[in-house]
Every structure is written in C-alpha cells, then in structure tokens.
Symmetry: C2
Subunit: 226 residues, 2 copies
Amino acid sequence: MPSISKENYLKAIFIGNRADKKPLTTTEIASRLEISNAATSEMARKLADSGLIKYEKYKGLRLTKKGERIAVNVIRRHRLWELFLLKVLKLNWAEVHDEAEKLEHISSEKLIDKIDEFLNYPKFDPHGEPIPDKNGELPNLPKTIKLSETEIGKEYFVIKVDDSSNELMNYLTKIGLKLYEKIKVADKLKFDNSVIIMLKSKQINLSKKVAESIFVSESSINLSRN
Amino acid sequence: MPSISKENYLKAIFIGNRADKKPLTTTEIASRLEISNAATSEMARKLADSGLIKYEKYKGLRLTKKGERIAVNVIRRHRLWELFLLKVLKLNWAEVHDEAEKLEHISSEKLIDKIDEFLNYPKFDPHGEPIPDKNGELPNLPKTIKLSETEIGKEYFVIKVDDSSNELMNYLTKIGLKLYEKIKVADKLKFDNSVIIMLKSKQINLSKKVAESIFVSESSINLSRN
DNA sequence: TTACAAAGTTAAGCACACCTAAAATAATTA
DNA sequence: TAATTATTTTAGGTGTGCTTAACTTTGTAA
Ligand SMILES: [Mn+2]
Ligand SMILES: [Mn+2]
Ligand SMILES: [Mn+2]
Ligand SMILES: [Mn+2]
C-alpha cells in the first residue's frame, strides 16, 4: 500500500494524462500538486523504483499498469465519497471535494464497496466525472460540449462541471444550476462571449469563463449501471 | 490543529485516565499506543510546550483543559463514525473500530455534525461507550456490572462490551449477542468461573475472561438524547 | 543507607516528504 | 553552431515521529 503522498502523485499523473499520450513532465505534476519540482523529481525516482511509473530523467513519466490500477482505485474512492457526502450526508456541492481528498486515502476496500452498494453503483460523481467500478472499469463517457460552444435557441442537459474551484461550485449552487438540469441557450453576447441561459424560466448571464467550465449534451444520460 | 499522532496521544491520555486521578506515566501511554518509551517522553515534552498537557519529568502527565477538549473531540469523532459505519454502511461489529481509528483524524467538524444529525444525536457507540456531544458533554453513564459478577437466575440487559479485541467482537457476533439484548444468567461454574447464559432460549457458556468483558444492567437504558 | 533493579529520559540516528539553491541538461535564438 | 535561456535534476538541509542504546533518576530490598 503506497503512502498518502504517493497515492496523490499517482492520481495526479493519471488525471494529468494528455490526449497526445506523451509522457508528463515532472513540472506538470509539481504544479498540479503545488509542490516543488525538486520534490517531484525525487518522488519520480522512487515511484519508478517500485514499478509504479516509467521514468527517464529529462524525458518525463507515465504510469505502469500497476501504477494505473492504484491511481484508478484512488479516484474511485474519491468520487464515491464525493457522491456519498452530497447525497447521504447533505454536505454541499462546494464542500465534498476537499473532504473526499482526505477520505480517499484511508478507506478500506470493504468500506468503499459498501458505499458503492449504498449508492446503487453510481456511474458519475457530483461533478459528472465517471466513477470506476470495483474492477477499475470506467463507464462510457457521454459526449459533451462546452456551454460556450452551444447554439442559440437550443436546449441542453448539464452533464459535467469543472470541479477545480470551490468558488465556482458555490456560485453554481447559488444560481440553482445542478447536474442533469435542462437549460436553454437564450443568447450569446459577442461583446464579452458571455452566454445567457434560461434555467427554470429564470434568465441567467454566465461569463465566458463560467460557460467554459460547464459541459452539456443535447440528450440526457442514464445514471445507474444498467 | 494537532497532527494525527498528537491526537492519538491526547486520546490515549484521556482514555487511560485513572480512577485515583493520579497522573499517567509515559510508560502507560507508550504501551497503550504500542510505541517506545523514548518516543513518548519526547512527545510529552512537545505536548507540554503547546499547553495540551501538564508534564513534569519522572512525575507523569495529565491533560490540561485545552488538551482534554481536543481529546474528547477525537473520541466524539471516533464513536460517531463507529456507529455510522455499523448502522448505515453495515460494516460489522469487529470492523468498525479500526476504520474509525483512521476516520477520526480527518473529518471536518461539519461532516461529524452531519453524521450526528443523521444518527439523531445518539448517546452510545456500538460498544456502549458514551458519545460526547458537540459541546464535549458526555451523557450519563448507566450503572453496570460485569457479567462475571451477576447473580444466578436474574435477568440483565447487555449495556457495554470491551472493544479492545476484534476477536472478541467476532465471537460475540457469532453467538448472536448484541447490545441491549436481554439475557438470563442460568448458572455460574465455580470450577472455571465461566458463566452460562440464556440468550433467546439458547444456552451459551462464556469463559471467565469473556464474562469480564461484558457489562450488564438490570434495567434497560434510554438510547437517544432526551 | 547503600546497592541494585526498574522506570523514565536523553542521545544519536533513520525514513519520509518536503524545501531552496546550485548544477546539469535540453531547447531556443542569434 | 554557439550562446543564451528554460527546464529538470541533484545537493544539502529541515521538521516530524519513530527506533535502539546509553544514561539518569527513582524506588526497593539487603
Ligand atoms: Mn473532486
Ligand atoms: Mn468530483
Ligand atoms: Mn473504538
Ligand atoms: Mn467503540
């Protein structure tokens, strides 16, 4: 069992994984974890020694199968906790991430499976991110586009939101925007690239930055595993 | 906020607190936490420096008001988690303690309050130990005696069990003995000091050691706060 | 009351995970 | 290609919490 710190590195590497499949740089990991480059280089060596990543000096790093299994498991624990905290214990949208960030490292497999069962094997976390199942399989991702790239006049379902800012989560909560809600794009302003949506007959103007953090789809999705 | 390690010391000091009110020795703490005497001496100095305990070399230590507040809070978190894991997530009697041992250190006040609310402000944990409320107040303890000290022929309610051994918890689960169950003392053998009880018309022989780990009362108790 | 044993503390050192500053390597620009 | 700049690694160091071994204090028994 890797330490809390090592689990965080593995998770960061998995999530930082790029579309182009190129290895990640130690610098990218360092900035994601908000620690020094030096610490990351050192840890890279250790993780490579224990076979959790492949790492060549100056050439970046990538997860091995073994490292990926652990990373995916940490992510499973994180996302299940997030959903559990929101749905069962009624913490709010902005609070669940930070709490899950700690819980993900200290929950036994058994406890996590119980939570999974309690929630009836959910496919997505409170931000719309996929939850790996017990075998590490991720559900199929719904095809989404950014709210900033939608067409005026059309209706969409909110499928995912960027979870990296508590402030954004609080704002979305305040205006009453939730996952799986239906919205209509009323207008888009060329002036500042903001998007005006209709949410339950309320009209809301969302800035470019906010609109780029909300992912929508024209069709709704199936939430539970078959 | 003290570190996980410091929280464990404070909790151990609180729980180890003796009836005679004499200060605890560093050796007692060390053995309870299964670490060396040396580590405990060193930590005693640090805890004293931050005003969490009073400590005089060679004279033992005791909690200050400030240290006690933290200790009681850790215990609150531990016991609420234990009950939550058992009642809501259906972990079993023998599993909850070890899991709570980790969760107690990383849960926010808010999360713990939500759990407290979810459980409807319970007074006792799954082993019959009192749960401190948000203000650190402990509920009144029911008066109990050891099962080994009961009278033959009388009926009792199981009020508390010693939670220090997973094996014992598993054994009690297997024979179907639960908290708040009514039992009748059928016989006590002088030969080995074992106690024979009737539990739901089943007759069970409990060794001296087991009988000394079970605490009973002649009257049942009120479980929820007022 | 002294000698010895037991209990408790200090000393020295280790693993972990981080830091800053210096050095090495790679990438870019002239 | 050489010089310059940017990226990445190594060197040296820190704080926490632990260890074993040596030493000090306290309690007990001769
Ligand atoms: Mn999250
Ligand atoms: Mn999430
Ligand atoms: Mn316990
Ligand atoms: Mn308990």
